[in-house]
Amino acid sequence: MRLQKSALASGAVLALGLTAACSSGGGDSAADDTTITVAYQKTAQFVQLDDLLQKAKSEYEAANEGMTIDLVPIEAEQDQYFTKLALMNGSADTAPDVIYEDTFQIRSDAAAGYLQPIDEYVEAWEDWDQFPDTARQAGLGDDGKVYGVSMGTDTRGLYYNKDLFQQAGLPTDWQPESWDDILSAARTIKEKLPDVTPINVYAGKAAGEATTMQGFEMLLYGTDDELYDADSQKWITGSQGFVDSLAFLETIYGEGLAPSLDIALDASVGARVATELLPQGKLAMAVDGSWLPGGWITGDNAWPEWEDTLGMAAMPTQDGQEPGFTSMSGGWTLAVGAHAGDPQAAFDFIATALNKENSLKYDTENSQIAVRTDVAEDPEYLGFNPSFEFFSSLVDYTHFRPATPDYSQISSNIQVAAESVATGQATAEEAAATYDEGLVSIVGDDATQAAG
């Protein structure tokens, strides 16, 4: 009893101290209608967005006397960025007014009530004509309303190091036609250059969406199967393509063709590929996004030699089946938060940030595939980066993720499957079966169908 009493008393003192601390800190955080908070992602190698928003902030504040833009960079890798954003959106007090939002999260977050439709504002925006239908669709919610303005899109392909290919006796003008071509090149590299990691395909949970999209989906969408049947609006279970894609990961990680697990399973694997493994010639091939050259052209991790060193190839389909190649496209938007005090002002900031001049700046610096027609046709854009032409050509083969409200959870489920085969904890068949179980528990029996 004595012990408990003193514990109670000290607990009370602690609690009092905490409440005092809370109440003293709570006063100044309430935002008023003259302040627009902007939540966005910033990391050591992703500062282009920060640059853009800083520029837009000064332009907007100069044009709108009395308004303040409060930039809230969230310094986290993509995976934690979504979590932090969701937590910020959990309360009206902390919810941002303008949100940097991945296109695949839009339906999900719109359904969760974190975003508000901006149809009336885009209709009145003179620049909206510059956004073609494909770009507009990227910002649509489940209800068909517009929730986000596309900043640019991207594609994915295969980077390969020409110097290493030459040393290993492989052609420097290379275009694989099937997965087997990739595997045989990787095996040659491993044999001839044992110190070099032959290929990176993301497969760790910590890499988040990169594992799903740059890794697994780049494989799956090159098979005869897909994740989701858009016609019947059902998720597909038990497909051979799913097993084969996991088996590819199983092969490269099992044979030591991929990075060792301490690198592959770390949250920083994406940054290491872009700033360390590729530039230092430690990695011969990488399936990765079209934005990588953005970090090599300027900034802290500039690597001017990338143009001569790296070759780019389209990702082949599994056995070279039609149309021969595959790619995935995503992209990000700026969206207006559901709790924005003054949605018109929030949208006006978006309009400033994504006007022609700023879109051009962002699309070139961050190696985006421009979506605004006037930017895409601008000679300054076309001449800025030699990789634009190649990655834009992949748009013909590209696929989009099934961005239903459940996608983000299903994506996590895919990452679990990928990591379990990469670590050898499950075979491709076992991991696919686990995925099917998880899928049914997320979307329910009615929303799935067996592969036919």
Partner: protein, 309 residues
């Protein structure tokens, strides 16, 4: 300590005025009210709220974030049939058993015994070194240990000087790495508790045993250990509960991986709630962890029950 003194003084007051007034006991409870209210708001409240959350399908995003449904015990039913959950239970038991019950306790006791016999300067140096691990904030300790165990880390560099090539600790033996890390971090606490307890053992008792011909180990197991058994059970309870709640250390060092090879219950709960966005399911795991902790406390409190010496 303060509570004990207070009790004595009020007991003295009672002696001067032996007649009990009705309502006096109730009046004595009044000063407790703020504390009880705060406990209810800050402790019982969140516990009940988390229990309620575990009965819903609340998610971090999507329709279920806006309109969570009450699903009864579905989350718990799913848990019991989930292999990942049972794996996490086993890993948690291994982690707590190896690092707290065995590692921290035994090593802490050994250090306390050795230090009692050590020369003063040595004692000061060794205790300072051990206590440093305890003083470090958990996140700092976790980063230090990540740097120590990682593939190009300190440990493998040192092994390299001797021509040995260390394994990728955090990948090939993740549980061993986090267990060693938690032992390193927590031993200081046990050492201090046992150091204090040992100094309370009256020397004349052990001396008497020595005169009766008891050997060193006999004196330790038959005299010293029984005399400090309450300190042992208190310490066991505190280290067990503390280790059951360890999250930062594991999350920073291995992220629960590779795969799920070091996902203890707190790590699993975090992943389900914040990575896979299944807040309801994650909360159910957290609630189970809470129950496991409660069972441990009850067992230890039973053992601790005051008894006549």
């Amino acid at each position: 300590m303060t509570a004990a003194t207070l009790d004595r003084s009020t007991a003295g007051g009672g002696f001067r005025r032996p007649r009990r007034r009705p309502g006096r006991t109730a009046l004595r409870l009044v000063p407790l009210l703020p504390a009880v209210a705060l406990m209810l708001v800050f402790l019982a409240g969140p516990v009940l709220w988390s229990f309620y959350g575990s009965l819903t399908n609340q998610a971090l995003t999507g329709y279920k974030a806006a309109n969570p449904e009450f699903v009864g015990l579905d989350n718990y039913a799913d848990l019991l049939t989930d292999d990942g959950f049972w794996k996490a239970v086993v890993l948690t038991v291994v982690f707590v058993g190896a690092s707290a019950v065995i590692g921290q306790n035994v090593l802490g006791m050994a250090l306390a015994l050795l230090l009692r016999a050590a020369a003063r300067p040595l004692r000061a140096v060794v205790s300072a070194l051990v206590v440093v691990a305890w003083v470090l904030p958990e996140i700092v300790a976790a980063f230090a240990l990540y740097a120590f165990f990682s593939t190009d880390g300190t440990l493998n560099q040192v092994l390299g000087w001797f021509g040995l090539e260390g394994p990728t600790w955090l990948i090939s033996v993740p549980m061993l790495a986090v267990i060693l890390a938690n032992i390193w971090r927590g031993t200081a606490f046990s050492m201090m508790v046992y150091g204090a307890a040992l100094s309370e053992v009256p020397p004349d008792v052990t001396e008497a045993a020595a005169i009766d011909g008891a050997t060193g180990p006999q004196r330790f197991f038959r005299i010293t250990l029984p005399m400090i058994r309450r300190s042992i059970s208190t310490n066991l309870m505190l280290t067990t509960l503390q280790t059951l709640a360890v999250f930062t250390l594991i999350w920073v060092m291995t992220g629960g991986g590779p795969g799920t090879d070091s996902s203890t219950l707190p790590v699993l709960a975090y992943q389900e709630a914040f990575k896979f966005a299944q807040v309801g399911y994650g909360t159910a795991i957290a609630t189970v962890t809470l129950l496991v902790g409660a069972v441990f406390s009850i067992v230890y409190i039973r053992v601790l029950k005051p008894e006549v010496d």
